[in-house]
């Protein structure tokens, strides 16, 4: 199944925003809807943002109305220092159940569900295997609230997968993430002047770069990957090795006995060590990432490179601090920029930026269009993806060019800017009759409106 119309839940989390940005660049995706209860934290281009929590009735209406075929759930919070346990439970377990409820049902259009999970699913224990494979279950019941939540959420997803066999369900369990942009408990820990460790322990650690996380989620959208996949970069480092790469000394300040108590003291001093991280600092964890690699996914960074890149960022960050303002979402501005015919600046509307290849194609289109305009006989061409069949006439008029119907909406839109007024009107007419792609018609209309406005004020 090819994903065309996607819904990203948790669009305002770092991962939701990053994923939407990546999907926006994919020409095969025609619609991206993002939902969250907060405003987006990252700048979005063609993603539609709907401010809604995880109320399944509302979500279901969005899914139905937009004919969503793929839902990507990026909301999971695998870090207990971010949310209080009750809020985390609400988000991770109840939220997941609601989203699954919105995707199920006999008439649901959803055909693919991608769930972002965490390697905390496996926990960390003394008798762990050195590399967890997807088929393994955690050897002991979860001990920390966040692990309990993740296990529960995954159980709900597995149940959904069992009951909806026609929906391809992908669960991705991510190792700890490092990267210049993302903020996790581990990035905070490694930003300290020394790396805190538990005395007498040198745990094995595996990371994944933030870009690889986004790429893996996108891989899950592009392909049909049924089942569970570990996402962790190649290579497992010892924490001492990590400290070496970061160029920081390691400080075995946590005692091997009474570690929880010492961690409490530390958190009062401002160094948050959440309980799930504490057990990782003791026993470490390794994941077997080969199942995902076998689906032709390629990691851009190994664990060592991920840490090395993070170290580079740490060296730069005191200089870069405060250079970039954080992004703020303003609903009215976004709406104005998206919909207003008064937006004229080419920096905001890129219709003037045609490369020579496109310009040549365009000229060819126009010539052929002129010739073909008089013909009454239309080539019998199946109209693809007709979203509004009622608007379609019995016999569509001739297309402007032979393979116009094969062009993607975005390709058409990118060519519109250099068309003449008459051609634009003719094209609008044709588009209305044939495929009636709203983005194309909207784009033509906004260009026409602006042309009209500029000609009246010379």
């Amino acid at each position: 199944m090819n994903s065309k119309r996607v819904l990203v839940t948790g669009i305002s989390t770092y991962w939701g925003g990053r994923l939407a940005q990546a999907l926006e660049r994919d020409s095969e995706i025609e619609a991206i809807v993002g939902v969250d209860s907060r405003d987006p934290t990252r700048e979005l281009d063609r993603t539609e943002f709907v401010k809604v929590g995880t109320q399944h009735a509302l979500l279901r209406r969005i899914v139905e109305a937009a004919e969503i075929d793929t839902v990507i759930d990026t909301r999971l919070v695998p870090d207990s220092s971010v949310l209080k346990p009750s809020a985390a439970h609400e988000n991770n377990v109840i939220g997941t159940m609601n989203i699954l409820a919105a995707c199920s049902g006999p008439n649901s259009t959803v055909r693919k569900f991608v769930f972002k999970s965490s390697a905390h699913y496996y926990g960390t224990a003394q008798d762990d295997p050195a590399f967890f494979t997807e088929a393994m279950r955690r050897p002991h019941p979860p001990t920390t609230p966040i692990e309990r939540d993740i296990v529960e959420a995954e159980a709900a997803v597995a149940d959904f997968a069992d009951k909806n066999e026609d929906v391809s369900v992908t669960v991705m369990r991510f190792a700890n993430v490092l990267g210049p942009d993302v903020e996790t408990s581990h990035t905070k820990l490694f930003s300290l002047p020394a790396v805190p460790m538990i005395l007498g322990f040198d745990p094995r650690y595996q990371f994944v770069h933030e870009d690889d996380v986004v790429a893996a989620l996108k891989h899950g959208v592009e392909f049909e990957l049924r089942g569970i996949f570990n996402v962790a970069a190649d290579g497992v480092l010892a924490l001492s090795e990590v400290a070496g790469l970061l160029g920081r000394p390691y400080a075995p300040i946590l005692p091997p006995w009474g570690t929880g108590l010492a961690a409490n003291v530390l958190s009062r001093l401002g160094v948050r060590v959440p309980p799930e991280m504490l057990s990782q600092l003791r026993f470490g964890r390794g994941l077997d990432n080969r199942k995902l690699k076998a689906t032709r996914f390629e990691y851009r960074c190994t664990t060592r490179e991920t840490v090395a890149k993070f170290a580079e960022y740490l060296r730069l960050s005191p200089i870069l601090r405060g250079v970039q303002e954080p992004y703020r979402y303003e609903r009215e501005v976004e709406d104005f920029l998206r919909w207003s015919p008064h937006v004229k600046n080419p920096a905001y509307r890129r219709e003037g930026t045609l490369d020579p290849r496109q310009a040549f194609q365009l000229r060819k289109f126009l010539e052929e269009y002129d010739e073909g305009n008089g013909q009454s006989e239309a080539p019998p061409r199946a109209v693809r993806r007709s979203r509004t069949p009622k608007a379609k006439p019995a016999e569509p008029p001739a297309p402007p060019v032979a393979h116009y119907d094969d062009l993607e909406a975005e390709e058409v839109i990118s060519l519109l800017g250099s068309l003449e007024l008459a051609d634009l009107e003719a094209l609008r007419e044709y588009e209305r009759r044939a495929q009636a792609r709203q983005p194309v018609i909207g784009a033509i209309e906004s260009i026409l409106a602006r042309r009209a406005a500029s000609s009246s004020h010379p």
């Binding site: 199944m1 090819n2 926006e24 660049r25 994919d26 020409s27 095969e28 700048e43 281009d45 063609r46 003394q126 008798d127 762990d128 295997p129 050195a130 590399f131 393994m136 538990i198 005395l199 007498g200 322990f201 040198d202 094995r204 592009e222 392909f223 049909e224 990957l225 049924r226 190649d234 290579g235 497992v236 480092l237 010892a238 090795e241 026993f283 390794g286 077997d288 990432n289 080969r290 199942k291 076998a294 689906t295 032709r296 190994t302 060592r304 920029l337 998206r338 920096a347 905001y348 509307r349 890129r350 930026t353 490369d355 496109q358 975005e410 390709e411 990118s414 983005p439 909207g442 906004s446």
Partner: protein, 302 residues
């Protein structure tokens, strides 16, 4: 806030072309995952298991070399039975408070084998939870005795693995029970070898029992210290933790027996077969150990 418009999209060269087959991928379920093992990064000093060439080298130069050559004066027979390539499961008898046998077997392969290979020694999970040990043990080539670990090493990474099926029962036993092999677990090691289609090489070690004899076990102190056992040896506990290394200079003999091959993976599903193989291997080791003890004229001079 540059180009946040609904209609203007990024120039087409930025659009990422999608691979031709978007219709899902060949199921990786039974594909050979071995070729997806991570590549070795030459910049690293540790491998993915936490093994450190540097620490191992120091250990080897300053400790093992001395013990191997001058203290235990190890003699090796049948080293050609250790495979040159591919996975191999070495199964040995086990003895001594802090058993010297594993280190000596590893050193013997390094010294005597025509193609020296690193040996992965499986150890109790206990070590992973005990401060200090937990840092050191993986660095010198020990891995936790988990079936998945053994399988990955044998099958995927095609390495040599040494197991002690007697486990703790072997190292706990007192001096008076020396060279009497304990029960060989539940045959898990045979199953692991069968699944990995790796040969089993039985190994007999004589000398370890006398090098680190245990006269008594103190249950109360074991519980207090959280160790897996608390032995009384000639040097421990009265010489402190280092007393664990206070080995007596017994003469070591190591004999590698003929390997046992398992051509068929499905053999592992037959519990009876697994058990009878485990039983056979134990009997072969026991027989050879008795023979070696019988031929030995002196505990100290061989």
């Amino acid at each position: 806030m540059a180009d946040s418009t609904r209609t203007s999209l990024r120039p087409s060269e930025e659009l990422v072309a999608r691979p031709a087959s978007g219709e899902g991928l060949p199921a990786p379920a039974d594909a050979d995952l071995r070729r997806y093992l991570p590549a070795i990064e030459p910049e690293r000093r540790l491998n993915d298991w936490g093994r450190s060439e540097r620490v191992e080298g120091v250990f080897d130069r300053y400790l093992l070399e001395f013990f191997y050559r001058y203290w235990f004066r190890v003699e090796v027979e049948g080293i050609e039975n250790v495979p040159d390539t591919g996975g191999g499961l070495l199964v040995s008898n086990h003895a001594g408070a802090l058993p010297p046998d594993a280190a000596m077997i590893g050193k013997a392969i390094k010294e005597e084998h025509p193609h020296p290979r690193p040996l992965n020694v499986t150890v109790e999970h206990f070590f992973k939870g005990y401060p200090g040990f937990s840092m050191l043990i993986p660095k010198i080539g020990c891995v936790a005795a988990h079936p998945a670990n053994v399988h990955r090493l044998l099958y995927d990474e095609e390495q040599l693995v040494l197991v002690f099926p007697e486990g703790r029962k072997g190292t706990e036993k007192l001096y008076k029970d020396r060279y009497k092999l304990r029960r060989f677990g539940r045959g898990g090691f045979v199953e692991a070898a069968m699944r990995a289609r790796a040969p089993i090489v039985p190994v007999c070690v004589v000398g370890a029992e006398e090098a680190a004899p245990i006269f008594a076990q103190v249950g109360l102190l074991r519980r207090l210290t959280g160790l897996i056992y608390f032995p009384i040896t000639p040097t421990f506990p009265h010489l402190g933790p280092l007393g664990m290394l206070g080995y007596l200079p017994a003469k070591f003999r190591i004999r590698f027996l003929e390997p046992i091959e398992f051509p068929d993976e499905d053999m592992a599903d037959d519990r009876g077969l697994v058990q009878s193989y485990a039983h056979d291997i134990r009997a072969r080791i026991q027989e050879n150990v008795f023979e070696m003890v019988e031929q030995r004229e002196s505990v100290w001079f061989g």
